[in-house]
Symmetry: C2
Subunit: 496 residues, 2 copies
């Protein structure tokens, strides 16, 4: 293809010479050179097509023409900072606000999810002068200094990890592998009570809680879906301590979860965070992000006397692109597509779970789905190497998938939102073959089937909101928050 | 103009409702709505043209067609993350590297000057495990938490400012208003010795120096130009303590200083920082930035075991835009233009200093020029209100200028690099009229003329490298680093 400017070896050599080595490249022993992309497909320098199951940044599809056009047209006219009045800034803020609960009405536009979460920390620390932050186990909130401190996913990688004294780590509300599991009578309350315990301990040491921060659904942490009611109870405890609730929607916002526009809304309409941070999908790849908060929090921040100015944040081009992304989501009903195709994909994966001993859990909402591989369904021994093998074999067959979670054994699906049922069929068919091969080679199947049966024996299958039998007990919310809530209560009942 | 989508009042109302109030708008009692811009001109909703003397982000001119085209074409093809190989990333890194000393060979692409400086802090702190940072008085390095700590310009705004224990503030090397002035025999050594003193004190308290960070020329700090030789001596002291030197070029890089591509190069060819951070002009408004460092620092960062990945950083669109910006600088000889027009502007402003008692100092390099207003040339009483008046009156005449520095009395010129001598004539003519009016109203002129004369009597005018008499004794470097060095030595001699 003419869009290639040098051969792959030369690209790789120059990269080794001039690009910081701390950024891992996909498939580092044989990396992919991508020169073009459209929708949910990427193309390498030889024109080979790859099905993209992982790029949640290219939210409305790679190089969507409407988004490209909006960006190009605005670039031609004007791109300047927000110290001047501009309609795009306020129109976009208004439009974004309309997707959120009323009280979340004030926007700060910044350039990355990291800048958004860092600003959120500044907002909560200014609010009442409290400093302590409660974060979740395996959480990842960004790459700037302040966020490494609140990202166990990152700071545990450090050889000389030293946890910041004002940061407290609560258990991940993971009902599959976490402290309280599906067989617990009320994991939401149990996990929230742990947060309460952390607050009490912090108070004993003289700490004051500024905020609890969590991704509405943990992404790098292993596609973890918190039990419904957890956020409400945590918010109650945190607010009682004078703190605020930050919902990090950087990975999962903008309709990805299908039944709702924001993932925190899966917890029910009675839950409203004090701050929502956004990023990745917001500009379909254009660097932009946003913090939305309440008037009270914004006013408290202003009383600090310190100005907040962001050179690029909220520029007319970013806002034009942001508006185009919202238009496409609506026009192409991508949230609806996420709900439908996500449901379809989850069902296919559930069938894989019935068939393959290596599949421990399927959990997801819309087009945010995790498939956790284990060597033993009772001990939950992570099948890390097997997950890597799936990823590599899929790549050979031109499908891009990745594995994450603390044990790197969760296959994660977060494709562009135009992903189709045919795409789902294709990737699951390939996974089926690969798992069959791996299991045959390992002789795993027979020994694990017993565990599978034991496991199945303990669970009864809940029905979804349409009365169809669902294949899993995890929180796969297909309907409204209320339905999700009922479904989860039902799951809990059936699992216990 | 059709590009306006609502009337100005409505824009302002929506902004009040939905945009964080901590961002000050220009001319807040009567803000400007800009809908279009081209080159060094901006246009409001009524088609009124404004001459832009301040937007150093629109480096090669607002909405430059080559930059727009490069961005639009790449957006159409592909915009994805740097975990895939892409030619734009490595070509841009290679091209950027070619503008720098050889040992600065490894790039990290990020999204804003703030992300760049934060990453620089992470690099230096990882390098030897040292934590202490030495920063300059009035410095501004960005808006994320870690940078507020090292930005006295910001943290002094806080009512409850509490200086981080590992941050040390050195005197600003300001030879006009600072601790050691033009009449000091060797201000470079004196200011560097102060840094040495800070290191010694930090060591006494058990601190270990990770880095010294400075803008190559202080911008928000008041367009301060450090005496030549200062950085070399500071670097020697800091490296002896195991620390690194970070040159922050976010405001002043990419040819703005005229005689050099990077402002740190004004110190002479014997000075090479360990890390250079870049931002604002790099993408002509597109959110991007970069950290460049040595192989040794990059390798030390990798040994921490922590990956560094930046979702948007170094994407193919940003890199295409970055390449186009470099092309335009070269093709249109904008660095040469900065040298020529900057010199012309500085000479015009020097004439204003001869004429107006309110003008205390003119200092600049290329198209980065400061005009400091004082009520008394001996006491250097800042003429803050007068500076504001100049700014506001210029705005009435459709010229955009701003005032900065710790006393907000330095008129700062940092226009798009296509600024012309006609533009310089226009703005200086207007300033002349405004200063005449202000001085007449205040009756300042006669009383201050005495100070002016005293001041002039003490100074002899140095000649520039072409033998022409220069109008100021400040470091206005028109030639090579060596020439700048000689000129400064000469200035020092003549001033003392």
């Amino acid at each position: 293809m003419s869009v290639e400017k040098m051969d792959k070896k030369k690209t790789l050599d120059l990269r080794k010479k001039h690009i910081g080595p701390s950024c891992k490249i996909f498939f580092s022993h044989d990396p992919i050179k991508i020169v073009q992309a459209k929708g949910q497909y990427m193309y390498d320098e030889n024109g080979q097509r790859y099905l993209d199951c992982i790029n949640n940044v290219a939210h409305v599809g790679h190089s969507h023409p409407d988004v490209v056009k909006a960006g190009a047209q605005q670039m031609e006219l004007l791109n300047t900072n927000s110290r001047f009045l501009h309609d795009n800034l306020v129109l976009y803020a208004q439009r974004l606000q309309a997707t959120l609960p009323n009280k979340l009405s004030v926007c700060y536009f910044v350039n990355s999810g990291s800048e958004a979460n860092d600003l959120a920390l500044r907002l909560v620390r200014q609010y009442r002068g409290h400093k302590d932050i409660i974060t979740l186990e395996n959480a990842y909130h960004g790459h700037v200094s302040s966020l490494i401190d609140i990202s166990p996913y990152k700071f545990h990688q450090l050889s000389d990890a030293e946890q910041n004294q004002s940061v407290h780590v609560a258990p991940s509300p993971d009902v599959y592998r976490g402290k309280y599991r599906a067989n617990h009578p009320d994991p939401a309350t149990a996990y929230a009570d742990d947060v309460k315990g952390i607050i009490d301990k912090a108070h004993e040491k003289g700490g004051k809680i500024a905020a609890f921060i969590a991704e509405s659904l943990q992404s790098c942490g292993g596609q973890v879906i918190p039990p419904v009611g957890y956020f409400q109870q945590v918010a109650k405890h945190v607010r009682k301590a004078g703190g605020l609730f930050i919902a990090d929607e950087v990975q999962v916002g903008f309709g990805r979860v299908g039944s709702k526009f924001w993932a925190f809304q899966l917890q029910g309409e009675d839950f409203v965070p004090d701050i929502v941070t956004m990023g990745k999908p917001i500009g379909n790849g254009h660097p932009m992000s946003c913090v939305v908060t309440t008037k009270e929090v914004a006013e408290a921040f202003m009383t600090s006397g310190m100005e907040y100015f962001n050179t690029f944040g909220g520029n007319p081009v970013s806002c034009a692109i942001g508006l185009a992304v919202l238009d496409v989501i609506e026009k192409e009903d991508l949230q609806g597509n996420a709900l439908r195709v996500g449901g379809y994909l989850t069902n296919l994966l559930e069938k894989q779970k019935e068939k393959h001993a290596l599949v421990g859990d399927i959990r997801g909402c819309g087009l945010f789905v995790g498939m956790e591989l284990v060597r033993d369904r009772l001990k939950l021994t992570p099948a890390t190497a097997e997950a890597q093998e799936v990823i590599y074999k899929l790549k050979e067959q031109h499908i891009l998938l990745s594995a994450d979670g603390p044990h790197r054994n969760v296959l994660k699906f977060k494709p562009p939102m135009c992903f189709s049922t045919e795409d789902a069929d294709l990737v699951v068919e390939k996974i089926d073959h690969i798992l069959t091969e791996i299991e045959a080679a390992l002789g795993l199947k027979s020994s694990n089937l017993l565990s599978v049966e034991n496991d199945s024996g303990k669970r009864k299958l809940p029905t979804d909101e349409n009365g169809h039998q669902s294949q899993n007990g995890s929180v796969h919310s297909r309907g409204s928050g209320q339905r999700a809530h009922e479904q989860t209560k039902q799951s809990k009942r059936l699992r216990s």
